[in-house]
Subunit: 379 residues, 2 copies
Amino acid sequence: MVTDRPDPGLYPPDRLDRAAAASAEAGLAALLLTPGPDLRYLTGYDAPQLERLTCLAVPAAPAGGKPFLVVPRLELPAAHASPAGGLDIEIIPWDETDDPYALVAQRLGALPGPVGLSDRMWALMVLRLRDALPGARQELASAALRGMRIRKTPAEVAALRAAGEAIDRVHARVPDWLRPGRTERQVAADIADAIIGEGHARVDFTIVASGPNAASPHHEVSDRVLLAGDAVVVDIGGTMPSGYCSDCTRTYMIGEPPPEFAAYYRVLRDAQQAAFAAVRPGVTAEAVDAAARGPIAAAGYGGYFVHRTGHGIGLESHEDPYIVSGNTEPLEPGMAFSIEPGIYPGPHGARIEDIVVCTEQGGERLNNVTRKLICVDAT
Amino acid sequence: MVTDRPDPGLYPPDRLDRAAAASAEAGLAALLLTPGPDLRYLTGYDAPQLERLTCLAVPAAPAGGKPFLVVPRLELPAAHASPAGGLDIEIIPWDETDDPYALVAQRLGALPGPVGLSDRMWALMVLRLRDALPGARQELASAALRGMRIRKTPAEVAALRAAGEAIDRVHARVPDWLRPGRTERQVAADIADAIIGEGHARVDFTIVASGPNAASPHHEVSDRVLLAGDAVVVDIGGTMPSGYCSDCTRTYMIGEPPPEFAAYYRVLRDAQQAAFAAVRPGVTAEAVDAAARGPIAAAGYGGYFVHRTGHGIGLESHEDPYIVSGNTEPLEPGMAFSIEPGIYPGPHGARIEDIVVCTEQGGERLNNVTRKLICVDAT
């Protein structure tokens, strides 16, 4: 948790007012947000998610009252010190033997409609709020906040760009750590150190999938020893002090690639480029997915591309928009997402992933480390 | 996430049957568990928490059917490779364009009672399951699982003991890193490295609260530079490859302690010892809290001990039982929890924390690094 170096540009002061208006538009009477990306997005407060209730209530505008933030008394100094302390929010502490759910309900009073809960709120809190507010049907806060969060502001794009540059610097060092005889876990530990060393506040994932593991798209890491002739899928990411995430995949070879691997790696690069080239305002998310699938299917590898093409990214590693068949949402400037096709025929596999932001002019890649196949000396 | 080195003793094969029976006893028709500690406790599967639904359904015994696990197809190899793959559970993959909530509802069929949701399930899933299972009232799975998870088996106590030994080794090295001129953040980075180096799979928190920050019980870390004359509260913990957590606090002095600090530190040690000595089967959780509060109040510092005495620990850093006024639950053998009184008068403060397990004979400390005040040379 990093609360002491927020970029004020990331948290425009009108965001709470816009959220209150968006809630009314979504038919919600109030938003109830526990620690997580929604709370951070609206207030800059990177609160810890604990069993003790921290909850921001945002009554819908214009009928509702002022937003208020209920926090355990222990967290009061951190809440005041966070950017939330500078907003027009009443911060209300509760003591160890108080019932904070009753406190929220009492402050909200009778609600004229449903409440929107942060998507990651724990069931523990969802059900206690349900019981404390029996008249208010529960919906997801994303009904109101999705439209705001999915369109990144220039300050948010800058934060994602900085995250992309940081993870690119890590990838630039990966070849040094890929040596026959080392385990995936040892390589992942080097990568984790570098993720922090290159400026992230937190390591989110360090996938090192070598040899046959490279054919399993969600393999994480194991004690398998790297061998000459391995393809190694390295899919890594972290969270910056800004709260914004990085996520980038490159596939490396130790020694010379088997002939078939080299052939489908080229197909994969073309597919990733084709999807990137498809990005522009008005194009649907599923059209970008289809653009990635086209070259792979044409080359006969369609059955080996077993996952969606990408996911949105921002304060969460995975968020809207999802680049997947069935998502007919048109892209808009400010949307940021991964483009990460993969081909997994076994006994090896490959994936290439960049974060891309949609601009008026088309796509902008936020990862720029080479997508050419890097073969690491096996000796 | 570490899935490849589970201790089979941690996952007795009868646990699913006991959970099904406990569900029936709690009046639940089924448990629905998404990734998190409940799922890991029952199956050993340390699944990632993602927006894609992974859900274990455990119908209540004896009326219900067999447990089944719904997973995204991408996660199928990991699910099979986990200890869950060796259990009598049907593992059902779903594809990117399927509706996994409808799949869960269809497999469960009509339910004769409420469902119990894992306490940390995201609202996103809670509300989709609510809509997919409109006839089943939602309760918390802890109604059934709490009684199992709160009483640690000998294998679980051994896992917590190993976690305690690992974090003790980190504390033994902390004095080397506390030097005037370094920042809290630099010290926390050294500690994070050592938490991994001493055997944890994940760093959970690294609180380094120096000088006036030591008077704020939930301060995390900042760029404040350490000075001679600082008290430094170091509250650190991680998660072992077993999934079990460590958590230990010591307060250090840089140079000589101010006279008042030395006086209340002694009171704090006595209070921590008094609470530890109170631990035995049949004593209530709140009586242990009161035992810690007694010496502190008697010495006139009662108003500066502003938090509960402790929290349970296991697969979560914070879980039942909570050692707090109002909790009249009697301790039982196998319960494991922190005892961590603090005194925060400002401009400095102190806290001492050990994990303690209740045995037939009384308490056993799982942290054994000295509780005497360690004054680090300021030069």
